[in-house]
Point group: C2
Chain length 192, copies 2
Amino acid sequence: MALEHAILVSLLERPGSGYELSRRFERSIGYFWTATHQQIYRVLKRMESDGWIDVREVPQQARPDKKEYSVAARGRAALSEWLHEPIEPESVRHDLAVKIRGAAFDDPSALIREVERHHRAHTDRLAHYLAGERRDFTGPDAPATPDAGQQLQHVVLRGGIAYERMTLDWLDDVLATLRRLGATPPSADSAP
Amino acid sequence: MALEHAILVSLLERPGSGYELSRRFERSIGYFWTATHQQIYRVLKRMESDGWIDVREVPQQARPDKKEYSVAARGRAALSEWLHEPIEPESVRHDLAVKIRGAAFDDPSALIREVERHHRAHTDRLAHYLAGERRDFTGPDAPATPDAGQQLQHVVLRGGIAYERMTLDWLDDVLATLRRLGATPPSADSAP
DNA sequence: CTTGTTTATGCAACGAGTTGCATAGAAGGA
DNA sequence: TCCTTCTATGCAACTCGTTGCATAAACAAG
């Protein structure tokens, strides 16, 4: 598993509390690794007891106190070790593809609205990525000579952008296919 | 959850045993939904006791007997219901992206071999998809007038092909970035 | 002044997914 | 003959992930 490692990377990029991490997992790092706050708090506890991270109680005014975590030497070593291990899985869980194949046994045109919804969501996400890219990497306020960390964050973001563009093209293809099927009578089903 | 639904779709496309399903989840449907045989057997049991699928004991010679499952009316209804529900999650778990961002705190060039390995794996997978596309959809043995099910399987496969092509392009981008970082001295790390 | 939202942390229970192991007959190679 | 591989099914134990709920302080809106 690698939630620990995703947290280590995020904490190395910037120390923070469990709550702040859970916010990050709804944005930036969350675009390629999802986690809920309960998961994060539980793993933080374990990482702390394993000496991977240090805690610092931060009293705050106008809001509850927080525990700010930062990566300890042992955590850095664990990350380094993981980075040198090969990974294979890349486990995929693409509900929509299952639904599309399943639509053959139901009414394909009923999926059109669903696919359109996904299209809109990916359009929004692409716009969001592109805005982030302009802000951090290609716009006037971006660093002229980005350091290694920034270049690596940028290449990951470019991957997200490429993924969204590819997905939008594919969803167009899916929509065209569903509409074509809806226009012609269904073959052997209990459709109206 | 949707392992049940992926199994329903697979069994509608062709009835089969738990073992055969687990083979399919290593190929075709497994490219967008992974499952191990233990998971499959467990879920088949539940689906059977819920009346979603029917079993038929098939005696075989030269190999152990098998239980062939097929979708019952209640299973078809469950699939239909699921198809009409909206889905949101699309949970992503992209280890490599985490590793790339993590490489900023280690030696980026150590990741090159790993990324090259992924590049080879995706090249193989693309070749495999393209061979399947020729065999089933675009080659001389493909049906001249594909039915709805075939058209939907094809559009899903086109999605897989587009994904692999996009990924290969991105991995080239990642490799170029990692090599560039390796060629220039690292900024502020304990690298040699 | 109550209600709702944001920050902040956590428990308990359940369901999903993984890993290791076990069985068993038949085929094929060393 | 033994060893491995393939088909075929399954249990047990564990970890991971999700859902529902709870607490608590501060602020803003009604």
